[in-house]
Symmetry: C2
């Protein structure tokens, strides 16, 4: 089992969906990621919060074995995101973003964080992602998530990070936008040319697609009769994916495929409730049971 | 190998996509279906054309072993469809429809057509679909395709056909519209309650999903770098699906899953060129090679 470092946001979210709403809920890309990955390996979290951040949330992560040695407490307010979803749960509408302490976040990794062989740069300013990545001591696998905001606003910095990572995880609109190419497969090929040997395209209710230079792999989304809140689905997908790779300390094709399926398993639980509520009740036995359900749903010959 | 009957449209299409256009091209739901199914079993076609329909098109189908004994030539013009696609190739925009001889189509099946154990009711007026289905002599498996036009305009007739078929093949918007239920899984469950034990949801570039009362099965779309024209993709998917079931004369879960994958294989070739142009060049060896590619893309453990 190898250690996994993540940097990204820790946030307080207000979220409204057609099925309810929450305020001041625990959120943020690195939070969702850490919790999901903690089922599979040891996680080290580099992030920033304000003094207003509830202690119980830190205790929740610490209780999962997440090393909080890289969590800085800065003067100011914790990052806040306010968003809503319509019946098409594939797309969030951002109503408000309050950067707070995130505006001046300069990660300063403890020495023992720098030796993590697996690194995930969750959605965050690509300049910060690059800074974290360059402070690492030759990771075995580094992966990156990003969003349209950075593709539009900081493409040069993003391309610089991309050149130094092994894997990119984005949704399909972002993959097309990043590559400037409407065909998803050609978009993935173009991104391969920029650095990452693995491109994972998240497609919400349609599952995910992994494109390596040699192969394709598809996984469906778990067929749910009720989806309450998609917030964190992509981040927990990434957490499951990276957690499994680090947990098994392997990055060959078979490991990548297993990791993609586990990512889908975790994401399918995330959306069953608001914030991290479903994950808090989640057991390893439930994860493995749903993994077997995925195997069954994808198997041709029986 | 069991015989497969199809009724549906035979048409002349004008189609424009961002990659080119064709006029007076061979089209129609039953045409695409028949050609696709002919790779796997003996097909009998019930349809109507006008005297204007080019003989070479009939010869093309006859050359594939399609029994044209149910093709009526009526006074009037052959059915014509004119449509276009934007860069989002998932949705066709219908520019014009000329029913012609289709307006008074009353299928009168030859006796030897009525004993076909496999029946496919391609997209057509549900009253005609019902008429054809009731003239059959206890088929082993009957399946149905339909579209938003009939869901809106002839729901009662459509529900009557649905009550008598084993399988429904529709796209996801249609499934949701038919069931009046935004969640696709709940929509499929509702449709099960109306008759069909198998609901196949076609999702264009996202593949297809089969929901039976007991199980789910997902297949991706083949990752193509160039899609020229999606016209006929759904019909050839259905042709591959039903052709494989009839060809192997089996309808158990394993047969259904193999059939879904073959349907996806055929559809993936269809969209590589306009009209039936790619299918005309297609060989069984190419089909089997792409089937193996699907197996490879869906396999978790290696």
């Amino acid at each position: 089992m190898a250690d996994l470092l993540v940097t990204g946001t820790v946030a307080l979210d207000d979220v409204r969906t057609p099925f309810g709403e929450v305020t001041d809920a625990l959120g943020g890309s690195a939070t969702f990621f850490s919790y999901a990955a903690s089922f599979f390996t040891n996680v080290k979290l580099a992030a920033v919060i304000g003094p207003d951040f509830p202690k119980e949330h830190l205790e929740l992560l610490a209780g999962r074995g997440v090393d909080l040695g890289g969590v800085q407490i800065s003067d100011g307010a914790t990052f806040r995101w306010k968003g809503e979803y319509g019946y098409d749960l594939n797309e969030a509408r951002t109503l408000d973003t309050q950067l707070g302490v995130l505006a001046d976040f300069k990660p300063d990794l403890p020495q023992h964080f720098r030796r993590c062989p697996y690194v995930f740069l969750a959605n965050l300013d690509p300049l910060i992602q690059l800074d974290v990545l360059r402070s690492m001591d030759q990771p075995r696998l580094a992966a990156l998530d990003t969003m349209n905001f950075w593709i539009k606003g900081k493409l040069d910095a993003l391309r610089a990070v991309l050149a130094e990572v092994d894997a990119l995880l984005v949704n399909d609109t972002e993959a097309r936008m990043l590559a400037g190419e409407p065909n998803l497969i050609r978009a993935a090929r173009k991104i391969h040319g920029w650095g990452p040997r693995v491109v994972v395209v998240k497609r919400g209710e349609y599952g995910a697609l992994m494109v390596t230079r040699e192969r394709f792999f598809f996984v469906p989304a778990y067929p749910l009769e009720s989806v309450f809140d998609p917030t964190g689905a992509g981040d927990t997908f990434a957490g499951g994916f990276m957690g499994v790779l680090a947990g098994g300390d392997a990055t060959d094709e078979a490991a990548l495929r297993r990791a993609i399926v586990y990512g889908s398993v975790i994401a399918s639980f995330t959306v069953e409730d608001f914030s991290l509520n479903r994950l808090k009740r989640l057991t390893r036995a439930e994860i493995d049971e749903r993994y077997r359900a995925f195997q069954e749903m994808m198997q041709i010959e029986r």
